[in-house]
């Protein structure tokens, strides 16, 4: 009886030298991207100084390019090709992000630092009545009133119109009419504001209507409706069909389903869309120049007489070309940005407050 003894191998499995264990491999430390960035910026600044370039944009672009190249090469050497591609894509995304954010931050900073010089209670509560362009007094009150009223009227007209159009397109529309409406909404999205202004102006000339805030608001309405329709449409499409069916199956009529189930579910997104549309029209200058005419005086009646508005005021003060008027223009720009910012914050607040809740 040949009993083959089972030999227990007590030697460890030989590890072939040069081959790493299969799952882990050499990797760069977590702070590597920051290191790459520091090296790239140092190199970029150094090269630029050596070459005697003055433009800071050039410095930045060279540093960005170096950053991408250094991360790619270093990762290829230390890690491997696949990681390097991953790093390359990440680096490019970061660079693009910075390229987009830097001008925005710079713009915001310039506006805040230059605008805050003149921005105070006096500036917000006084008009330009009887103020010479070179005088360091006067204010933005009349323009603020004008913007609030014109944008307010435009919103009151276009928000319901846009909302109803979107409801029609999503819930009812089919066939040629819906396709035509969609097409014209798309066309309207691309209308330049001056064309909208000219359209209203031609009506004013035909019907011999005097310039007023209302006319400007009508032009703004033309610009605002397609934005509201588009964003609301997308939001309504996001409401799951199951909710509509659940409601219909309870014997709830379609119109009440839309009113009580579909719209409340989408209300957060719809509000955000309307606010963004307001932000878009609040900065329009061209229709105001054409249709509201501009004024130095406080006119709280949007239906009669010339008014001013913030973007028009900025343009006007800039045209005067005095140091004091530049300050006023910057301060008014800050007021306009703050107006849009506050609207956006309000919209976000409403969206969060109204969003479907999922808490337990």
């Amino acid at each position: 009886m040949s009993h083959a003894p089972t030999t227990v191998q007590d030697r460890p499995t030989p590890v072939p030298t040069g081959v790493k264990s299969s799952l882990s491999s050499r990797s760069l430390p977590r702070w590597a991207p920051i290191g790459f960035a520091a090296v790239a910026i140092a190199l970029g600044v150094g090269t630029s100084l050596a070459a005697g370039w003055h433009s800071r944009i050039q410095w930045g672009l060279i540093s960005a390019l170096l950053f991408v190249i250094i991360s790619y090469v270093a990762t290829t050497v230390v890690e491997n090709q696949r990681q390097a591609k991953d790093r390359l894509a990440t680096s490019i995304v970061w660079v693009c992000f910075l390229v987009a954010v830097v001008p925005l931050a710079s713009l915001l900073w310039t506006t805040v630092s230059r605008g805050s010089e003149r921005l105070d209670g006096y500036f917000l509560t006084h008009s330009m009545a009887g103020v010479l362009g070179s005088e360091a007094s006067g204010g933005v009150y009349h323009a603020l009133i004008g913007t609030l009223e014109q944008v307010g009227i435009a919103t009151v007209i276009s928000a319901p119109l846009g909302l109803l159009t979107a409801v029609y397109l999503v819930e009812y529309g089919k066939g040629a009419l819906a396709r035509a409406v969609t097409f014209f909404v798309d066309v309207m999205t691309g209308i330049p504001s001056i064309v909208a202004g000219l359209f209203i102006l031609s009506i004013m000339l035909i019907a011999s209507i005097e310039p007023s805030g209302l006319m400007g608001a009508l032009a703004l309405t033309i610009l605002m409706i397609p934005v509201v329709v588009r964003s609301t449409e997308e939001m309504l499409k996001l409401v799951p069909n199951e909710l509509r069916e659940a409601s219909l199956a309870l014997g709830i009529p379609k119109w009440r389903t839309i009113l009580k189930v579909v719209l409340p579910t989408a209300i957060g997104g719809i509000t955000t869309g309307v606010m963004l549309a307001i932000a878009r029209i609040a900065g329009e200058t061209a229709p105001i120049i054409l249709l509201v005419f501009g004024s130095q005086l406080i006119n709280t009646n949007p239906f009669e007489g010339a008014q001013s508005s913030l973007p028009f005021y900025i343009y006007e003060q800039y045209k005067i070309g005095e140091a004091a008027s530049y300050d006023r223009a910057w301060a008014a720009a800050l007021v306009l940005i703050a107006f849009v910012m506050i609207l956006n914050l309000v919209a976000r607040g409403i969206a969060r407050w109204k969003a479907p809740k999922s808490g337990r």
Binding site: K174, P240, E242, L243, R244, E245, A246, S247, L248, A249, L250, G251, I252, P253, R256, T257, K260, V261, P264, T265, K354, P356, K357, S358, G359, R360
Partner: protein
Amino acid sequence: MAKRIDVGGLTAYYGSHKAIEDISMTVEPRSVTAFIGPSGCGKSTFLRTLNRMHEVTPGGRVEGKVLLDDENLYGTGVDPVTVRRTVGMVFQRPNPFPTMSIFDNVAAGLRLNGSYRKNQLSDIVEKSLRGANLWNEVKDRLNKPGSGLSGGQQQRLCIARAIAVEPEVLLMDEPCSALDPISTLAIEDLIGELKERFTIVIVTHNMQQAARVSDRTAFFNLAAVGKPGRLIEIDETERIFSNPSVQATEDYISGRFG
């Protein structure tokens, strides 16, 4: 409460596609009727024709008649909204209204129909939640959102919502397919209780479930992919599962097809 359904020569289309063809059957009141059959054979489509939900789908249309205690649902002048109040429905996936609290979800049908008295509302909600075996689990958090419940609780919430409007018939489209076995058991027990008051039609892919909960079972099949689904046979559940009269039913139930 609880009406009989008589279906005669019913054919349903999606656009030009014929989904089900020439279906005739009777659904007895105060009983559970189960629809079984392979996927795509038109069980759900047929179920949706019973409360005129089929025509909600774009291109959906129906020929034939569905009598609810001798009144044709597809007769002229019949309002689909009224039909759906009489024939309620529970869907495959739980779909509570996300903007509403548990209480509002159950009250939704009554509130949005405008057919309620304020002081009765909380009684009806409690009764419906008790009817759906959910009351003890949610009575302390009626004002919390319905979407915060577990899947099984959400489905029972949807059942409570459906029975709150006091329908005559309750249609259930695979109500347990998204649920775990314990929630499924809870819903099956509930179906057993609900059939005392309602006529119940349930679509299921689970044949054990059909055998457990239903009094009568209908087997649907389709001749080939793309062909319309047909009713093969309908009989007492016991007979269908022990000694069906059609070979195709036996093949399907015992797992031999094709």
